[in-house]
């Protein structure tokens, strides 16, 4: 029933612009996820194909994934030489080259065309309408040789099938050095250098797990550091009346205008003289000393808690720290979770500081590891780049659905979110 109030009555037509805009906003993310599960032959097609499709053929009851079919062109024969350098390997030849059980093999040696003849067995007659398909491998690092099939086009079925194997492949590509890439994934992950691994242990390799461990360690320490220090300081600035706290608060507000790029050169010098360059410490130690924005946020929240609560606790003989710990903190869970969430996001997404302060691959965070991979292999392998990007994005999206309320509340009240 339409509401009589023209302020709350809305026309269903409003869904048209909303749906159009929602499509525009959702498409890039959808495109990322779809590309990340496409076989590499499908990526970069013009026009682009949305759904991941894979070609299959069935050989002796076994379903084999194959590369996109290529036309044979003219009638051919498949023969297997029983002698010579190509012995035992099926060859696709013109019917004219196979006479009386012998095949003529031509090889270009420098500027001469070498003609040799070997005994061979006919394996298959290939009519012109047939297509060539190659056994499809997920990993380019596999050492097995691909089987080649010559089949009727109708035998090739293309079906929608997401290649989830792109993700392990992206993990492999993202992480290891060239020589490690042929290792089995399990072994690769098992040998990963972890943030707490002794430095200089060369038996460990740098993998995606290393980056993930570093990122999580930095994020966790950042959250712990920010929560403990900023809440202490915010308490000191809001609930203890002392001379100079207004001055300190004003200075704190003013420092919110100093952007990181302004400080990065001298900070590099500070961390260098402390011997922290190349370690994770520049990324989390400063957070144990508070941050202007979080102090401000928590102070505003602490101010809303009635002072009677503190007074009552004080009369009961509670120390100042006791009041902070037992009265104020338990009441501030919403504000503290907003601070924790945004600090985590900040650490997860941060790029400039890791780029400057982390010099050793074993200390790289995920964002930095992804950028390093992109700068080496960018412009090709989009399916793996999208897979690796998804590995960075999906945890954040999951976190959003897990803590949606905190996100929306935090952004609505603070006017920013993790940036």
């Amino acid at each position: 029933m339409p509401s009589p109030n023209p302020l709350t009555r809305t026309t269903p037509l409003i869904h048209l612009p909303l749906l159009a805009l929602a499509t525009v906003f959702a498409l890039p993310l959808l495109w990322l996820l779809l590309t990340s599960v496409q076989p590499r032959e499908q990526v970069g097609k013009i026009p682009p194909e949305w759904l991941p499709r894979q070609a299959f053929i069935t050989v002796k009851g076994e379903t084999v994934p194959v590369t996109p079919p290529l036309p044979v062109g003219s009638d051919k024969l498949v023969v297997v030489p029983s002698a010579g350098p190509k012995q035992g390997k099926p060859l696709l030849v013109d019917p004219a080259d196979y006479q009386n059980g012998r095949v003529t093999v031509r090889t270009q040696v420098a500027d001469r065309l070498l003609e040799e003849s070997y005994p061979a067995q006919l394996e298959q007659a290939v009519p012109a309408r047939f297509v060539i398909v190659k056994e499809w491998f997920l990993s380019k690092y596999t050492s097995r040789e691909a089987r080649v099939f010559y089949v009727d086009p109708s035998a090739v079925t293309r079906s929608i099938s997401p290649i989830f194997g792109n993700y392990p492949e992206a993990i492999r590509a993202l992480s290891a050095s060239e020589k490690d890439k042929a290792r089995p994934l399990g072994e690769l992950i098992g040998k990963s250098a972890l943030p707490w691994t002794h430095k200089g242990d060369r038996s460990k390799t740098i993998t995606f797990v290393t980056y993930l461990g570093n990122t999580l360690l930095v994020a966790l320490l950042s959250v712990v550091g920010t929560l403990s220090s900023s809440s202490l300081v915010a308490y000191g600035l809001s609930r203890i009346p002392w001379k100079g706290r207004t001055t300190l608060f004003n200075i704190t507000l003013a420092t919110m205008m100093v952007p990181f790029p302004v400080l990065m050169v001298p900070l590099y010098g500070v961390f260098r003289s402390l011997g922290w360059i190349g370690t994770l410490m520049p990324l989390w130690v400063p957070l144990f000393f508070g941050g202007a924005f979080n102090i401000f946020l928590l102070r505003q929240f602490f101010l809303t808690i009635p002072s009677e609560l503190s007074d009552a606790a004080r009369i009961d003989g509670c120390s100042e720290f006791g009041i902070f710990w037992r009265v104020i903190l338990p009441l501030s869970r919403p504000a503290l979770s907003v601070v924790a969430l945004f600090t985590f996001l900040g650490a997860w997404n941060e790029f400039l500081a890791p780029l400057i302060f982390l010099t050793e691959p074993e200390t790289f965070t995920m964002a930095l590891g992804l950028q390093q991979y992109q700068s080496q292999f960018g412009g090709s392998e989009w399916h793996l780049l999208m897979g690796a990007s998804a590995l960075l994005v999906v945890p954040i999206i999951a976190l959003f659905f897990f803590a949606q309320k905190t996100f929306i509340q935090g952004i609505s009240t603070t006017g920013m979110g993790g940036r």
Partner: protein, 294 residues
Amino acid sequence: MSPVARTNLRNGLLFCLPWLIGLSVFLIYPLCAAFYYSLCDYSVLLPPVFIGFDNYLDLAGDPLFWKSLRNTAYFATGSVTLGLVVSLTLALLLNSKVRGVGVYRTIFFLPSLMPVVAGSILWMWMYNGQSGLINTALRSIGIDGPAWLGDPTWSKPAIVIMAVWGAGNAMVVYLAGLQDVPTSLYEAALIDGAGFFQRLIHVTIPMISPVIYFNVVLSIISGFQAFTQAFIMTGSTGAPERSTLFYVLNLYNVGFQDLRMGYASAMAWVLFVIILLLTFAATKLSKRWVTYDR
């Protein structure tokens, strides 16, 4: 000083101790050091040598400095203006008590959560000249799209568009602001015979102007710090033709690639002053445009 005041002073200082240390070591000292280095020839490896205001004088005649400043101003202006229009439109559409607000809000908001590194790589793929989604869409309506990130005219708009895609964050802020506008004001306007656009101009916008002001100032400040998108999508030189050489990208190159830390510090201080001036100007302007009568 009374005993209570003394205890409070002691406790206050104790509680604020982490920040007093953090403030001095990680903020005030670096800020002062940056100013001192900006007056020096300094390469980190050797101690700084005082050279007076030479770095600043060199900056004034450095075409790259001016280019990066122009690029950054272009990006900040473009992304802030377009971002404001888009996020406010989205918020107004969602504020009309439409069904499924939660779903729409999630869809508009999610892109803003995208880590910049992953977002940049995704948009490189979107902008791919041949098989990118953008040019495919353009081709389908008969337009031959540019090479975007490879074209000096289109590389900056490309990065602006990517930034606008992340406008969902501001949308959430505006939506919260819109929901705080008292209905009585709209009812009064309605009785006075105000139409939709009159209500928008005379009630909605003035009532959320403090939120808009706060958000715009923050966006300008963060726009001037743009780095990662350009670094990843177009490399540290800001190719093509340095059209995406942003200020901080230039600062990074000078400081951490060429190790001219003194010169980089001068750039850092100029950036600091620019941000101070912009914030100051915004505060002055806000007196005229922002309504604070809640």
